[in-house]
């Protein structure tokens, strides 16, 4: 994605709804991209929940959605780790491990960025918390 488009996307996100949920920082809808590089990126929607004991989630809701395998957060440094199956844009099942970090945790515009590895590939991901509950 050209850099100026990223900047525009970021600005559009800044103008997204004001009301963030103020409870567990991971709860809610996250959207962004994962891929091996800038030319090979997959759109990703991740819906996360917290029941007081553990995190659960749904990847790409709709036809072909996937239950999130497992996810953990270490609030001492706001790092996250997850292990799950994903379906990429070609319909291929990929088992991945990912590690990332939350930024702007106190803000409604929080982000989650990090890296992932599968058996054959690796790359990065970038997600932003969307408005709404």
């Amino acid at each position: 994605m050209p850099r100026y488009l990223s900047a525009l996307l970021f600005l559009a996100m800044l103008a997204s709804p004001a009301i963030a949920q103020q409870g567990h920082p991971l709860v809610g809808t996250w959207q962004g991209y994962w891929g091996t590089d800038d030319n090979n990126r997959n759109f990703l929607t991740l819906i996360l929940n917290w029941d007081g004991q553990k995190l659960s989630g749904l990847i790409n809701p709709g036809p072909g959605s996937t239950e999130l395998g497992s996810m953990n957060m270490d609030s001492s440094n706001w790092s996250v780790s997850l292990e799950t199956d994903l379906t990429d844009d070609d319909g291929m099942q990929v088992h991945i491990n990912a590690q990332g970090k939350l930024d702007n945790v106190g803000s409604m515009n929080r982000t989650m960025t990090g890296t992932w590895q599968s058996a054959s590939d690796s790359g990065s991901f970038t997600l932003e918390r969307q408005g709404g509950p």
Partner: protein, 377 residues
């Protein structure tokens, strides 16, 4: 350990504040959300307008620029009610008068300043309210027993022919009863190392609370976006609450002056806790769904159905949708309302815990009309 750097920065800015200026009297909410107390500013200019509205009055002045057109600055002051109680009126100074102001600059770089000190044309200090204004107002109240309805039940509102409201909360933050930690009037910890003592937090909830504290409350959705003060916070806001007891309808309106001037409806017939205020699991609310019964002289209110869109306490203690509150209201005499809240939120805390404080009766005064929305400029 990881807080060291930020804490030092916070401390330095507080020291700067203490050395240079007195803390603003009765700053009603974390002005830090809007103003940066590390950016001091002094201005001199001519008054162009005075906006005497709640929650904060504003004086607008034109500040001359070298070789350019003057810049119009908004000077943010205390609440008009408290300004008036301190002897100031909107016509105390007229447009055209020259004033000097020192205070904090707005974080967003706009031409706004939180006034710590206003000097009038003859160099006397103006438009400030004393730190102990509320205590002064409350000092000489007549005392008396709990007012009661003819059947003996305590009145939470005024007796017939009288008026008044509840204000001056005895605590500025939720904190578990029996824990001794110091907060400032905005619910900010005097010592960040006390953060884990405040409540039986889960790890993530503690760390989020500590983060909000280290951010000096600047993420507070009440002050950023006028999001309602749901839960116990409605009894922490500075402008007061009032109870309108409709006994023939088995309900009580809690009228709020702070926040958005909202109301909260409490049903007193113990009705089933379902869809009372169009809330259910799919429509969680800022004030939740409240159902109450009188137990002796205590009104015991059970509330569930909260959303996660707000802070339920000054200072940013987190909660989740699993939050269930049990609030007890006990008017122990004419002037005292004991408020006790038990927080049961297995999403954010390791066990239920209780916090309590007193509210004070402000006799003879009307609950002010005040809208957060009004001043968010």
């Amino acid at each position: 350990m990881r807080y060291m750097l930020v804490r030092t920065i916070v401390r330095i800015s507080r020291i700067a504040v203490l050395c240079g200026f007195v803390e603003p009297a009765l700053a009603h909410h974390p002005v830090q959300a809007k103003f940066d107390d590390s950016r001091q500013l002094e201005l001199e200019g001519q008054i162009t307008a005075i906006d005497w509205s709640s929650p904060h009055a504003h004086i607008y002045i034109n500040v001359p620029q070298d070789g350019g057109t003057p810049v119009n600055w908004a000077i943010e002051l205390a609440d008009p009610t408290e300004l008036e109680w301190s002897g100031w009126q909107p016509d105390t100074l007229a447009p055209g008068a020259t004033i000097r102001v020192s205070g904090y600059e707005a974080r967003n770089g706009s031409h706004q300043i939180w006034a710590e000190k206003v000097l009038g044309p003859d160099n006397t200090e103006m438009f400030m309210v004393p730190d102990d204004l509320i205590q002064q107002k409350l000092a000489n109240r007549p005392s008396g027993p709990t007012p009661r309805w003819p059947d003996g039940q305590p009145r939470l509102g005024p007796a017939p022919g009288q008026t008044g409201y509840w204000t001056a909360p005895g605590k500025n933050s939720l904190v578990e009863d029996g824990v001794n930690v110091a907060f400032d009037k905005h619910g900010m910890l005097e010592n960040i190392n006390d953060s884990s003592k405040v409540a039986p937090f889960q790890d993530w909830a503690h760390d989020l609370y500590a983060l909000r504290q280290l951010n000096d409350g600047k993420d507070d959705p009440l002050f950023l976006y006028c999001i309602p003060p749901g839960g116990p916070r409605q009894f922490q806001v500075p402008y007061g609450v009032q109870f309108v007891e409709e006994r023939n309808r088995d309900r009580i309106f809690v009228l709020m002056s702070g926040g958005n001037g909202n109301w909260r409806l409490v049903y007193t017939d113990g009705r089933e806790d379902v869809t009372q205020v169009s809330g259910n699991d799919d429509n969680p609310l800022f004030y939740g769904r409240s159902s109450a019964l009188w137990e002796g002289d205590s009104l015991v209110v059970n509330t569930t159905g909260f959303n996660e869109g707000f802070w339920f306490s000054n200072g940013g203690l987190p909660h989740t949708r699993l939050l269930e509150l049990t609030e007890k209201f006990n008017r122990t005499d004419l002037n005292t309302l004991r408020y006790e809240v038990t927080v049961n939120d297995p999403g954010a805390y390791t066990r239920p815990w209780t916090s309590s404080w007193d509210l004070q009766w402000m006799p003879g005064e009307e609950l002010p009309e005040s809208y957060c929305q009004d001043n968010r400029q």
